[in-house]
C-alpha cells in the first residue's frame, strides 16, 4: 500500500526543475537552481588550498576549527579516545611524515598543519563502504556522508589514510555545548567527517572555515575553472599534498 501512495505522491508533487542559472561565484549553485542542472553545464571539482605560512602567522588561532565545529554540531569530548573532529591542527610531522627531513625550513615544520577530509578524487573510504553510506558526488567531487544509512562498521575509518574520519563512540548530544538547530547532530554509532560544507554551498555560502579565517589562509573553489582563486594560488606557489604516493589524489593542497 505504501508504495502505491508513494507513487501517487511523486506524481502529485512535481519536483521543481529550475532554470539552469549561470555558474555563480566559483560555480556555487543558488537555491533556485538545483545543482543537478548546474552539473550538466560542466563538472566541478572543489578543492581547498591551505596557505601554511599565513596560517602560522596567527599562533594558537582556532577560528576555522571553532566555526566548523559550531556550525556542524561537532561534539567536544575532551578525551582522545572518543574525540570527533572535522578539521583540526596537527603537527607537520604527523601530517607529512614521509616528506620530512631534518633541515626543512623551520617556519614550515614548526607550525601546525590544518587537517581535514581531502575529498580525494580516488577515495579509498567510499570504495570500502558496504552500504553506499559514503560516496563521491560526481558533479563536484565532494565525498559525502549519509548518516541515515551508515551502519557504523568503521571500514571507511580504517581505509582513510589521513585519519579524517571520526566515529561516534558515544551519544554526541550531551557533549555539544551550543546546538545549531539548522544542522543535525549525529547519533552514536555512525561515522562523520568534513563535507566541504555542502549544505552551505547549496545556499551559495562559502565553507564555514574559509569564512572564519581572517588571515585568508584558506582558499576554496573549483579547480575546473581556470579563473578560480584556487587555480591561481596553485599556479603562483609551490604546493604539496598529503601521501600523494597512495594515488588517492587529495583535493586539499598546502602552499609552502
Amino acid at each position: 500500500m505504501g508504495i502505491d501512495r508513494r507513487g501517487f505522491m511523486k506524481v502529485s508533487g512535481l519536483t521543481i526543475l529550475g532554470i539552469a542559472g549561470g555558474a555563480s561565484i566559483d560555480g556555487l549553485a543558488s537555491p533556485q537552481t538545483p545543482r543537478k542542472k548546474a552539473a550538466e553545464a560542466g563538472t566541478r571539482r572543489y578543492a581547498m588550498v591551505v596557505d601554511l605560512k599565513k596560517c602560522h602567522s596567527q599562533e594558537g588561532c582556532r577560528d576555522c576549527v571553532q566555526a566548523c565545529h559550531l556550525y556542524h554540531n561537532v561534539p567536544d569530548f575532551d578525551n582522545r579516545k572518543d574525540e570527533i573532529k572535522w578539521i583540526w591542527k596537527d603537527s607537520f610531522h604527523h601530517a607529512f611524515h614521509s616528506m620530512e627531513h631534518e633541515h626543512l625550513e623551520e617556519s614550515i615544520t614548526e607550525g601546525p598543519a590544518l587537517l581535514l577530509c581531502n575529498h580525494c578524487d580516488n577515495p579509498p573510504c567510499t570504495r570500502v563502504c558496504p552500504t553506499k553510506a559514503t560516496w563521491k558526488r560526481e558533479e563536484d567531487g565532494i565525498v559525502m556522508m549519509d548518516w541515515h544509512r551508515c551502519i557504523g562498521c568503521r571500514y571507511c575509518v580504517v581505509a582513510c589514510p589521513y585519519g579524517s574520519r571520526s566515529f561516534n563512540w558515544r551519544d554526541p548530544r550531551p557533549h555539544i555545548k551550543e546546538v545549531n538547530p539548522d544542522f543535525p547532530t549525529r547519533t552514536r554509532g555512525v561515522v562523520e567527517k568534513c563535507t566541504f560544507c555542502e549544505l552551505r554551498l547549496a545556499k551559495g555560502q562559502k565553507p564555514a572555515c574559509v569564512e572564519a579565517c581572517k588571515e585568508g589562509a584558506l582558499i576554496f573553489g573549483d579547480l575546473e575553472d581556470p579563473e578560480s582563486e584556487v587555480r591561481k594560488a596553485l599556479q603562483d606557489r609551490f604546493s604539496i599534498r598529503r601521501k600523494p604516493e597512495l594515488g588517492t589524489e587529495p583535493e586539499v593542497y598546502y602552499l609552502v
Partner: protein
Amino acid sequence: MHNTGKIIIGLLIFLVIAAFPIWYAVAGGKTGEMPVLEKAARGENCIIDSVLMKETHMFLLDDWRDEVVREDDRWYRSMTLDSTIEKSLTRTCLGCHASKANFCDRCHDYLAVVPYCWDCHVDPKEFE
C-alpha cells in the same frame, strides 16, 4: 493428537497474555481516546492533502532524505500550496507545526512508534 487439552489451555493462556494491551485498555476505559494534534501555527493547507499526509508522511520524509542527501535535490513543488518549498523536516514541517511535542509526539506516543528522526535532527524549541 496427544495432549489436546493441554495444548488448547496453553494456547488460551498465550492469547490472554498477547492481548494484554487490549484488555488493559478496555479495563481502564481508555478505548475511545484519540490523540489531539495541535493545529498548524500558520497556513490553511499542508504541502499535500492532509489525509494523504497523515497516512504517508513517513514515506515522503524517507524520499526527501534520500533526495536531499544523496541527490542534492532540495526543492519540492507543492500542488496544494502552489509554491516551491524546501525539503526539510525541521525548517518546513516544524516551520508550520511549531511544536513537535504537541504534533509529532502525540500521535507517535499514542501508537507507540519511535521514529529515530530526532536522534539527530534538532527540534529548535528544545535548544532555544
